[in-house]
């Protein structure tokens, strides 16, 4: 799959933003006054900024409002509704928090909404039968762990961060190990794609055109996979190892900032790999992955 910057930025920052809203909603940190303003502004900047970035992925973003209508079947529609509902509910919570009142029930509902939003995002990918690497329970599990793990880091919950980062790193490793063989195990290959396997070995001989096309740009991404193994290590180090290392020292804001920047860089790399390494079965028709 083409690793589109808009979608990488969206999943990374919305994930962190809603992760932070989750902890704020649960009342793990209950700031008020100016500090509440700063916490919620940070969470909203990431969540809304991510959602805004995702509209750059659309061909006709001016019609985006229509995406709220098909919640019965479409995970993308459910995501849009969950995101906006969560932002409204947590907005009410934040408004009262500014004046020192913490509406526990509203915050709790908002926290569930934040989890639901990240879950619906992950289901957009997990539902794709056409991308065997994504079609696995690890996709939502990893999205959720990364989101609330990153949120815990932002919320300064050091022990929780450590536990969730350990879980996320282990889950990510397991996802890579099992994901690498999932296309081969999916049962879809060039023989079933063409239905010609009963004659013999099938090889793509001539593509339909001399140039490229939308399908090849969107679904076939070979160049960047060359350094995938190195990038995996870099992502694990930046995303989990370095932040945990920084947090090990006596807490100060400079180290916390370094931990946050390192974690964001790591998650961006993870998301880049999430798309770049995903093989869409349409590539089989072109003899490429």
């Amino acid at each position: 799959m083409h690793p589109a910057p808009s979608v990488i930025l969206f999943t990374t920052f919305s994930g962190l933003g809603f992760g932070l809203l989750f902890w704020l909603g649960l009342g793990v940190i209950a700031p008020s006054g100016l500090s509440a303003f700063i916490w919620f502004a940070l969470a909203y900047a990431m969540a809304v900024g991510g959602l805004f970035a995702s509209t750059f992925h659309l061909g006709r973003p001016e019609r985006a409002i229509k995406a709220f209508s098909q919640w019965r079947t479409s995970w993308l529609s459910r995501e849009a509704i969950a995101a906006v509902a969560t932002l409204i509910i947590m907005g009410i919570y934040a408004l009262f928090a500014l004046f020192g009142a913490h509406l526990k029930l509203v915050g709790f509902i908002g926290a569930i909404g934040a989890i639901a939003t990240v879950f619906t995002t992950s289901m957009i990918y997990m539902q794709m039968k056409t991308v065997p690497r994504w079609r696995h329970w690890t996709t939502p599990a990893l999205f959720l762990t990364l989101s609330i793990g990153g949120g815990a880091l932002f919320a300064g919950q050091i022990v929780t961060t450590f536990l969730l980062f350990t879980a996320a790193a282990a889950l990510q490793g397991y996802t890579w190990i099992t994901g690498d063989s999932r296309l081969a195990q999916s049962g879809t290959d060039v023989k079933t794609a063409t239905g010609l396997g009963h004659i013999g070995d099938v090889r793509a001989f001539e593509p339909p055109h001399t140039g490229t096309n939308y399908l090849m740009r969107e679904f076939i991404h070979v160049v960047g996979r060359k350094h995938a193994q190195k990038l995996r290590m870099i992502a694990l180090i930046l995303g989990f190892a370095l932040p945990v290392f920084f947090l090990n020292f006596h807490f100060n804001h400079m180290l916390a900032l370094l931990a946050v920047i390192s974690h964001i860089a790591g998650v961006l790399a993870l998301r880049w790999l999430f798309f770049a390494e995903a093989e869409h079965v349409v590539g089989l028709y072109y003899g490429k992955r």
């Binding site: 019609r63 479409s74 993308l76 794709m128 010609l196």
Partner: protein
Amino acid sequence: MTSLPTSTEKKLGLVIDLDTCVGCHACVISCKGWNTENYGAPLSDQDPYGANPTGTFLNRVHSYEVQPPNLKDGTQPAAQLIHFPKSCLHCDDAPCVTVCPTGASYKRSEDGIVLVNEQDCIGCGLCAWACPYGARELDADAGVMKKCTLCVDRIYNENLPEEDRQPACVRTCPSNARHFGDFADPESNVSILTRERGGFDLMPEQGTKPVNKYLPPRPKDVAPEFDVLAPYLEPIAADAKGFVGWLDKALNALPGGVN
């Protein structure tokens, strides 16, 4: 609404004969020609006369080389080149429809055609992600999803002569490799063809239940070594007489071998 109909009255679709397709791409051109000026936004091209031309097509022809396994005596049979037209299969269980967040994609309950209402399409591309066949392409100019309409604006069009009321690709195919009809009717041309020739689904394991069927190439017969011109190229006079005969013998007698 992006729910799929539980059943459709008709199941209109295509049978594509991989035995007779000659890979001429006429269906590709006639499809683009009709659909760029009819249903919905035009099928745009980018940099059409430049170094890297691309464009939107609803139908594309791939070519595959198939190498049959070695025979029992160890000889390798000739590889086959099979041309493979591919367009929307109008699946019964179309994953492209249910993922649509706006309701722009839908499957018609009356005839099973999968269409995009371009006024509602936001161009998110998710339907193209969900399609295993690469049947949908986002038009780079209009920003909306384009796909085969089964020429819905031809097949019911009473302004056209009756023989033209079929998809442009079917109408134009010079080798009769494309057939259009109703799969819900067991006695239709397409149902009979599918039954008699062993029509199959592409990627059945994806669970999309495609309506369009493909007919496999017929087995190749093995022709004996045969040269049409050989009888005419035989020497007319095998043994020369007279002066030419003497010359032939004399030259053969010279050192340097016999020709």
